[in-house]
Amino acid sequence: MSERSYPERPESVYFFGTCLIDLFYPGAGMAGIELLQREGLNVIFPQAQSCCGQPAYNSGYRDEARAVARNQVRHFPKPYPVIVPSGSCASMLRNRYPGLFEGDPDEGAAVGFSKRVYELTEFLVHVLKVELTDLGPPMKVTWHGSCSMQREMGLREEPRQLLAQLGNVDLRPLERERECCGFGGTFSIKLPEISAAMAGDKAGDVERSGAEVLVSGDCGCLMNIAGTLEARGRRVAPRHIAEFLWERTHDKG
């Protein structure tokens, strides 16, 4: 999982936008593409892509998940890396597809596809080895590493390494930075009382950090924590890490 060997810098990459970004945070997706393009890569966005299938998979509807997953496997055919701006979707594509397609005619394609999947910050750090220059004003920021990013993808330090390159950013730690925010996909709807309690605790943690901006690599968590903060009338701006990095490092002139 974390002991992964990384390829040389490729010429072309695929971008898998994720359905949450597509519908709710398209700016984060565009920012991710621009970060990759700035590194000189040819970024391909297959228009037929939709969702990784995780909502159904995690709900126990595997046939439905597989039908949707097949649509992704088929539309990323070339041997390019697939870059995903989400720890959770990246984990589904990378860790769950092989099992989901076991014994299926598309098994070989699904396994090949899953091996090409990288989470965005993972790719920026390990393959592109990006160097960032902060052009933004001083700012207090906190980072929420999602459970799938930390524990399924084994990516704890990568996003921090990127944020640490921003000289004007004061990165404030959360007290319980490893604890789940309570989103859990359909968990937030099926067990709303517990989910709300967890989101409430996380929102309190974010508030106490004194951060003006909450950065995360997963839009589900962002929606959950920021939605709770907003309902409480708190002003902490949510930003996907791609958007945050892009905003602070590109020359707007």
């Binding site: 709710f24 939709s50 969702c51 709900s59 649509n71 604890e179 989103f183 929606m223």
Partner: protein
């Protein structure tokens, strides 16, 4: 009794401020202590690898090892009994007690006896059973279930325990001094240990090569229950056996360090026979009851088999953000928390507890700490699929029982939207245009918006933006 339901239990518990703070404080303490024990991350990982290999090997050879255990126990003078179900197990215990004309018994802590509801069964037969682990004793006074497998009474604070003991034990006056409360319990229980006709215990590990039963504890009540009375009955799940004596030390180390952050417990009690000639104490009869109760079925499925590696340390619950919020009782199961979410539905059936595998955010905190690396999240996902399976039957009891027409239809609709690029592009554009007009107070959104603002659809999808920017499609 209404059907057990995690959501209902959890919704009640999460509103109990005192309970939540009791658990939060207790779990924080346990997590800290465990972390201090495993400061050397490399040692921990090597030990986990070893522990996992021992438990996997035990399960792979389970039938032979059980036969070996049985033979060695018999040779040592321990009588071995096999029970297919909890009812069988209870009847076996009762028969032993009747033969000995035993009327009173003391119990050491045993999760298997909780699973069998042994106390309840014996009480109905007029046999007085007394829990002797302090926590279990308090639980019994309160007529409650344990809320944690290692610390059964963690949900109550000192004042609540003080009040209970004053009310339930004759001649006891109210005190919030925990040492004094312990002294009171010691006095009551000493008398019982001395007089009890039989003692009942669980088993943490049973060693096949020597026919040895191992018990882990801090208080000494386990030793009392297995030493003072004339008859000792040990009950264990069939998965608890290990092959060699040298398999025990690594598991013991993983168990106590993961559970309570102790390098070892005060007592580790290894019993290999009843009292031998010349010995002045120890039971004259030792019985071992081997309980299946659904375990052999779990064993048969390679993906589910790791469930049986569990050594009952409770680290998964100590680190679970859901358990921490609601406590053990919300699960309405003998074993709560992540391990309970995978074990209980398999033992009792998805038709009975198909709700449990859904009580998790899949955050993997449990997987990260499990000393024998049980892939809890993989098994949760598998059980969710079994619960909603379109086919009945299969390897898990009650498969398909949770599948419900409306939800299945919704997922079919979701599939139709996302399985084709053309349909998805059309519908997502429609959502970008009209999605924000959906009221936040109906359907699934209602639960979300009770404490959060409504998610806002962007005016244009990423698909639209990339096309406009001329990002290549292939």
């Amino acid at each position: 009794m209404t059907k057990a339901d995690f959501r209902a239990g959890a919704a009640r518990a999460v509103g109990d401020v005192q309970l939540r703070s009791n658990f939060r404080r207790a779990m924080d303490g346990l997590m800290e202590k465990r972390a201090a024990q495993f400061a050397d991350g490399e040692e921990l990982e090597r030990l986990r690898t070893l522990g996992e290999s021992i438990r996997s090997r035990s399960l792979a050879r389970l039938p032979e090892l059980l036969v070996q255990l049985e033979n060695n126990c018999r040779e040592n003078g321990i009588q071995v009994h096999w029970a297919e179900t909890a009812e069988d197990g209870n009847r076996i215990v009762l028969d032993i007690l009747k033969r000995r004309n035993a009327k009173t018994l003391v119990k050491g802590k045993s999760m298997v006896s909780e699973e069998m509801e042994l106390n309840h069964f014996l009480e109905a037969q007029g046999i007085e059973t007394l829990e002797s682990d302090l926590g279990e004793y308090i639980i019994q006074l309160a007529q409650e279930m344990p809320s944690h497998i290692v610390m059964p009474v963690i949900h109550r604070n000192t004042a609540q325990i003080a009040e209970l003991m004053e009310r339930k034990i004759a001649g006891v006056s109210y005190t919030e001094n925990p040492d004094e409360l312990c002294r009171i319990a010691r006095k009551v229980l000493r008398e019982k240990f001395y007089k009890a006709d039989a003692g009942i215990s669980g088993v943490n590990f049973a060693v096949a090569e020597t026919g040895t039963l191992c018990l882990v504890e801090n208080e000494g009540n386990g030793r009392m229950s297995t030493t003072a009375p004339k008859t000792h009955i040990a009950v264990m799940g069939i998965e608890k056996v290990v092959e060699h004596l040298q398999d025990v030390p690594p598991l013991l180390s993983l168990l106590t360090r993961s559970a309570t952050g102790q390098p070892i417990t005060t007592y580790f009690n290894m019993i290999s026979s009843p009292r031998r000639p010349g010995e002045q104490d120890g039971p004259q009869e030792v019985h071992l009851v081997l309980l299946d109760n659904g375990r052999s079925r779990i064993l048969a499925d390679p993906e589910l088999r790791p469930t049986l590696r569990c050594i009952r340390c409770g680290a998964c619950m100590n680190h679970c953000p859901v358990y921490t919020r609601v406590g053990g009782h919300a699960y309405q199961a003998v074993i709560p928390g992540p391990i309970g979410e995978i074990l209980t539905p398999q033992l009792r059936g998805l038709d009975v507890r198909g709700d449990m595998p859904f009580g998790s955010t899949l955050c993997n905190a449990c997987v990260e700490v499990c000393p024998v690396r049980i892939p809890i999240v993989d098994i949760l996902l598998r059980l969710r699929a079994e619960a909603n399976s379109p086919e009945q039957g299969g390897s898990v009891k009650g498969a398909g029982a949770k599948r419900e027409g409306k939800e299945a239809m919704a997922w079919k609709g979701w599939q139709a939207m996302h399985a084709s690029g053309a349909v998805y592009n059309g519908l997502s554009r429609l959502l970008a245009k009209t999605g924000n007009m959906m009221p936040g107070s109906v359907g699934p959104l209602k639960a979300w918006t009770a404490t959060r603002t409504k998610p806002r659809f962007a005016a244009r999808t990423l698909h639209q933006m990339t096309r406009k920017r001329g990002i290549p499609d292939e």
